[in-house]
């Protein structure tokens, strides 16, 4: 067993990231999006069943503990995606079989007892399909939990270590599910995150620019896991991925234009207002980017003061508001993307897997269900034919799907 190789015959591990209407910011305006169903469990049940038809290892829900805002109130130009993820996966446990059910939940704003009880219960109810993405939550959460300011990064991670140890001790004291304990998932690539990931993480969500970057990260993390007495295969690396499926270049171009059109100017203004905590709503998108206006009085907008350097670096000479926004839109998620027909999408995924840069992907669809259905119906059969993806589930636990050993 070595730290850097992908063994021939290794299967892809696929998670599907459950956002309301899809991974594209304009997906809520897509003609196929039924807005009155976005908060109904039926929508999520149908989506999870579609992902299970594609033999995904798991569906995954993110978590936020505050509304998205721009000056003066909520960010009304984007779809909210903030329902309690544990209520969602508990409900899905009753409506699905086989597919794993993972959710983020905060180590900062829940006690070990709450975390242990909830995940153990869902693990029992689902027959061993639960996964917990351990998150420390964003800065905006603090104001809803009244304990002064949101704790700083190092404090949050030290709290997370203590919380996860306590949760695991509680799990060890209780009834066991068929997978013994929920799968521990983590995202985060800082040094703190790496230490945490190599100690506890079993599936790691990550963002890489290229295969070399992915391979370096994966090799490093597998080595760190080995140094801590774990098998390198006990840690699966899943970069974010959103495919752009179109069989011809004309089809891809049309689709790009269609999705670009879904983002209206007021949405761009709203999202930039949120990002800079600055009111862009009356600005013309074709005017030069108003960097001086933003830097002026930045100290009065404490939420973003520390980001000054990053902002200044991101904005290039000659940028209009529109060109800046377009550049940010393409990189803000940090996800890998690939465009082309089913064979080309499969080529991309295969190259990453067999290049030792990942163990699979945590995938978003531009729109749910249209683009997920396209992936399941067109790309999944290609992956299966190449022997890269399971044709059916061989077990019924998330731990089994991911090829993970029982926790120590």
């Amino acid at each position: 067993m070595t730290a850097d190789s992908a063994k021939p015959g290794d299967l892809l591990h696929l998670g599907f990231w459950m956002l309301t209407s899809g991974g594209h910011v304009g997906s809520w305006r897509h003609p196929a999006t039924q807005l009155d169903r976005l908060m109904s469990i039926d929508h999520y049940v149908e989506t999870a069943k579609l992902a299970a038809r594609g033999k995904f290892d798991m569906v995954f829900f993110e978590d936020t503990l505050a509304v998205r805002e721009r000056i003066g109130g909520v960010l009304g130009e984007v779809a909210i995606n903030s329902l309690d993820p544990l209520v969602q996966i508990a409900a899905l446990a009753g409506a699905t079989s086989d597919i794993g059910l993972a959710a983020s939940f905060s180590t900062t704003y829940h006690s070990p007892r709450v975390l242990a009880d909830k995940f153990a219960t869902i693990d029992q109810l689902s027959g061993g399909r639960a996964g917990w993405n351990m998150v420390t939550s964003g800065a905006a959460s603090g104001r809803n939990f009244g304990n002064g300011d949101h704790p700083e990064h190092a404090v949050r991670y030290s709290m997370a270590h203590e919380t996860v140890d306590a949760v695991r001790a509680l799990w060890a004291s209780g009834p066991r599910s068929p997978q013994i304990q929920p799968v521990l998932i983590q995202a985060g690539m800082s040094q703190w995150g790496l230490d945490f990931a190599s100690t506890y993480g079993e599936a790691i969500f990550a963002a890489f620019r290229d295969i070399e970057g992915g391979r370096a990260f994966r090799t490093n993390l597998r080595t760190m896991a080995m140094q801590k007495g774990r098998s390198p295969d006990a840690v699966k690396i899943l970069p974010g991925f959103m495919p752009f499926i179109g069989s011809t270049s004309a089809e891809v171009a049309d689709k790009r234009a269609f999705y670009r059109e879904l983002i209206r100017p007021n949405m761009v203004r709203g999202i930039l207002s949120e990002r800079f905590n600055f009111d862009f709503m009356d600005y013309d998108l074709n005017q030069p980017f108003p960097l001086d206006d933003i830097l002026d009085g930045l100290e009065d907008r404490p939420m973003i003061t520390s980001d000054r350097g990053r902002f200044v670096k991101e904005i290039q000479p000659g940028d209009t508001i529109a060109t800046y926004a377009e550049r940010m839109a393409s990189k803000v998620s940090g996800h890998l993307t690939c465009e082309g027909g089913p064979e080309e999408i499969a080529d991309f995924m295969q190259a990453w897997l067999q290049g030792g840069a990942c163990d699979g992907f945590i995938m978003q669809a531009l729109q749910i269900p249209v683009e997920l259905e396209l992936f399941v119906d067109q790309v999944v059969p290609v992956l299966q034919r190449r022997g890269l993806h399971r044709r059916d589930y061989s077990g019924s636990t998330l731990r089994g799907h991911l090829g993970l050993e029982a926790p120590r």
């Binding site: 809520w28 009304g76 009753g94 709450v114 809803n144 509680l170």
Partner: protein
């Protein structure tokens, strides 16, 4: 009469309870704030039952040592996802003043989005009307919570609130008392809430006799107007729930006292309760 059923553990018995057209099941006794091994989380069990049943009301006990923002968000999510089937019973860990403030914050958070806040306007690219979403700016002795909630207002306005008589405040939708304490739950004492008598039962032996006695006892208390219904608490869920459905519910139906199906509307509507007015209606700005 309104009929509820206490369930424990992982909620076995809920499907039978729905076949018998009971109004709700109550998942009780979270272990939050308690020492000891991991236990079943009532809210997660209730959420699981959202998809294994279709109509029955789903009530979870929730300890108030879970932050009010978390409680409000979980319940609003549950009510939205289930289309208005959610109820809750707060359990007090700390003192009564803290518990009252906790409830106050949760209700404010439910109201932080006005009912009309979601505009869903694809043409204008406006998902939500920000003038109808409000910070609650709560600052009290025990909690400081800014809000708004990151979920819209639940379809029932507020999920149905169940409280024991001793702890019940002005917002209780359902009030519970032991069947021997119904004198304290007269209409003078409890003017608007649904009054339920909690009845422990055990049909494991002498089933026919005990079943008939239980139906008789419930009928009398109900017909005398001493309560509006019952929360039935089985001694042994596995044995007692099928016997309840077989032996007791048909007798109540024969007397015209128990429903044989679900009427229209959400859980709150079926209980005959009004939808709460939003305390932030008409407030201008965030």
């Amino acid at each position: 009469m309104i009929l509820g059923l206490r369930l424990d553990g992982l909620g076995d018995g809920a499907v039978l309870a729905e076949q018998a057209a009971l109004d709700f099941v109550l998942l009780g006794d979270p272990t939050n704030g308690v020492e000891g091994p991991v236990g079943a989380d009532p809210l997660s069990v209730a959420a699981f039952l959202m998809t294994t049943t279709q109509r029955i009301g789903l009530v979870a006990a929730i300890s108030d040592d879970w932050a009010p923002f978390n409680v409000a968000r979980a319940l609003a999510s549950f009510d939205l996802l289930s289309g208005g089937r959610c109820g809750w019973m707060p359990l007090t860990i700390g003192d009564a003043a803290r518990s009252a403030e906790h409830l106050d914050v949760v209700l404010k958070l439910f109201d932080s989005w006005e009912d009309a806040a979601l505009t869903y306007d694809k043409a204008a690219a406006v998902f939500a009307d920000r003038t109808k979403v409000h910070r609650i700016r709560h600052s009290g002795a025990f909690f400081t919570v800014d809000g708004p909630l990151n979920a819209p207002r639940p379809p029932q306005g507020w999920p149905v609130l169940i409280q024991p008589l001793a702890a019940a405040g002005e917002f209780a939708d359902i009030v519970l008392a032991g069947i021997d304490d119904l004198d304290q739950m007269s209409r003078e004492h409890v003017p608007t809430a649904v009054r339920l008598a909690e009845v422990p039962f055990d049909l494991g032996a002498d089933t026919a006799e005990r079943g008939a006695a239980l139906a008789e006892r419930m009928s009398i208390a109900y017909l005398e107007g001493r309560c509006d219904g019952f929360l039935l608490a089985p001694a042994n869920a596995g044995a007692d729930i099928p016997l309840l459905v077989d032996q007791v519910i048909p007798k109540l139906r024969a007397r015209g006292l128990a429903a044989s199906g679900y009427g229209d509307g959400d859980f709150r509507t079926r209980l005959g309760l009004a939808r709460p007015v939003n305390q932030f209606d008409g407030v201008v700005g965030p």
